[in-house]
């Protein structure tokens, strides 16, 4: 089967993650980061897209603790706003789910999920040092 030219959004995003790189898209003209991956910049339809590696730093924009029946453990679901501007659904690890608060500074890490990888976050330690990738 012939490959059609142009960006293949999810395929490329997950391939970057597999290489350990957290990349998001932006328009070369507009310059504003967006997530999830798309074939065009949302709102403008611009297709002059490029991938760039984000800092991985972000802030918890919204958070919830999903309560489950034991023995399964309650878990966090959060919306994280990347320093580059885009927002994504994720979870905050290394901290009790109820201790995650809006405004908390966090740092991304790439973890395996099913056949691909995904991006989760952990609190940025005091002093701002990076949290190691698992």
């Amino acid at each position: 089967m012939a490959t059609i030219d142009g960006v293949h959004p999810d395929q490329e995003f997950f391939a970057f993650l597999a290489e350990g790189r957290f990349m998001v898209q932006r328009s070369r003209t507009g310059g504003k980061a967006f997530f999830y991956p798309r074939v065009a910049e949302p709102g403008t339809g611009r297709t002059d897209l490029e991938w760039f590696e984000v800092s991985g730093l972000g802030t918890v924009y919204a958070t919830t603790t999903v309560r489950v029946r034991p023995p399964e453990l309650d878990y966090n679901v959060a919306v994280v706003e990347l320093d580059e501007g885009a927002r994504m659904l994720s979870r905050i690890e290394d901290v009790a789910p109820q201790d995650v608060v809006v405004g908390m500074r966090v740092k991304a890490r790439i973890v395996p999920f099913e056949k691909h990888h995904t991006v989760v976050f952990a609190p940025l330690a005091a002093g701002g040092e990076e949290v190691a990738r698992s």
Partner: protein, 381 residues
């Protein structure tokens, strides 16, 4: 006051059926019973229906299946699916089709046996690859996330959420059709099981059976029967998944409301009764703000003042809402039925005396679709 929609569509029949638990009925059975009741009220025969509008949660072709069930051959079917607001989007299409003369009688219906039939919420969409790893309990977690942001930005509290619960319950206690009619205390609220923080079970809408239907015609079709006139209707959407919501404390109801009020030529101060899609407690607070009934950020204080409860300054969700009356998967049409009842003096013990203007507001997805209808009683024509 002036009303700017010319030859407005009018609701001349509005009915519910199977409220709460209706074992032994399928979803189409329930929707058909509500439809027949609404048509009887309107004095219109089934064979006169030439526009069918419906959206079952688990049937993507329900415009076809429901017309077939009724045994009619409509000129127009519409199965637009925006979540629970769908039925107010159907009213918009119906009003235009009526005004254009394409159809003469629109039947808008919904029914679900989700409580007794298969006992659970039906998901409308496949999981998104960028959300699936995080297992949000949808739709609850999406609204809980929005609530967390509202608490952070505006100091909204769980006490405010409880005020919404209590108000809805107090209205439900006046409604014999409501599913939950026992008084609720603050202690019970705080003892209620947490589901997705900050929400406990009581912050979430009911899971019930139930059906609703309305019949819409052009104003010039209205005889001496009670009618509610569609003075304005605005739709708006600004995202689907919750992480894509531009501002998680302000919904697109700001825009749907502005459009609906502009069409009607009125403002929030002119409204006598408000029916909001309260899938979760945050909805009531956010929509009151976004529709202009109070300032942004002051919704919590507004509901905690008792303003929206029986005896308050702004009657909201007078049937008990999705929190205490009925919530069979999609609630939007029930806001319209209750608005119709209030405007036609048919609301029994919960009747708002002299109600002339009502707002029915639908919400769909994850605060994603917002649809506002402004309806008026006979005095507005």
């Amino acid at each position: 006051m002036t009303y700017t929609r010319r030859n407005p569509a009018a609701v001349i029949g509005a009915a519910t059926f199977g409220m709460g638990e209706a074992p032994g009925f399928t979803s189409p059975d329930l929707a058909a019973r509500a439809s027949l009741a609404a048509l009887a009220q309107a004095g219109i025969s089934l064979s006169q229906v030439d526009g069918v509008f419906i959206a079952f949660p688990d049937d993507f072709l329900s415009g076809l299946s429901f017309a077939e069930y009724l045994g009619i051959r409509p000129k127009l079917t519409n199965n637009n699916r925006t979540g629970g607001s769908a039925f107010l989007t159907h009213m918009n299409v119906a009003a235009h089709a009526l005004a254009a003369g394409e159809i003469d009688v629109a039947l808008i219906a919904y029914g679900s046996n989700q409580r007794t039939g298969h006992g659970g919420h039906v998901s409308a969409a496949a999981p998104n690859p960028h959300e699936k790893p995080f297992r949000p309990r949808l739709p609850i977690s999406a609204y809980a996330l929005a609530a967390s942001r509202h608490m952070y930005e505006y100091g909204t509290t769980r006490d405010d959420f409880f005020a919404v619960v209590k108000s809805a319950r107090e209205w439900a206690m006046l409604n014999p059709d409501a599913f939950m009619r026992k008084p609720v205390t603050r202690d019970e609220y705080y003892a209620s099981r947490m589901v997705s923080d900050p929400f406990c079970v009581m912050d979430c809408c009911l899971v019930t059976d139930g059906a609703a239907a309305i019949v819409m015609v052009r104003k010039d079709w209205v005889d001496r029967r009670p009618a509610a006139y569609l003075l304005g209707l605005g739709e708006a959407t600004d995202h689907y998944q919750i992480a894509q919501m531009p501002d998680m404390t302000t919904s697109a109801a700001k825009f749907s409301g502005e459009r609906a009020f502009a069409q009607a030529g009125i403002g929030p101060d002119d409204v006598d009764v408000v029916e909001l899609y309260d899938a979760f407690t945050i909805n009531t607070i956010m929509f009151l703000e976004d529709l202009g009934f109070c300032k942004k950020g002051e919704g919590g204080a507004f509901v905690s003042s008792g303003a929206i409860a029986p005896g308050g300054t702004l009657p909201v969700n007078t049937n008990g809402g999705g929190l205490s009356c009925v919530h069979p998967g999609m609630y939007g049409l029930f806001t319209v039925v209750e608005a119709y009842r209030q405007l036609t003096g048919a609301a029994g013990d919960r009747q708002i005396s002299g109600a002339e203007i009502a707002v029915a507001h639908g919400n769909g997805g994850f605060l994603s679709s917002q649809v506002t209808a402004v309806l008026g009683g006979a005095a507005t024509q």
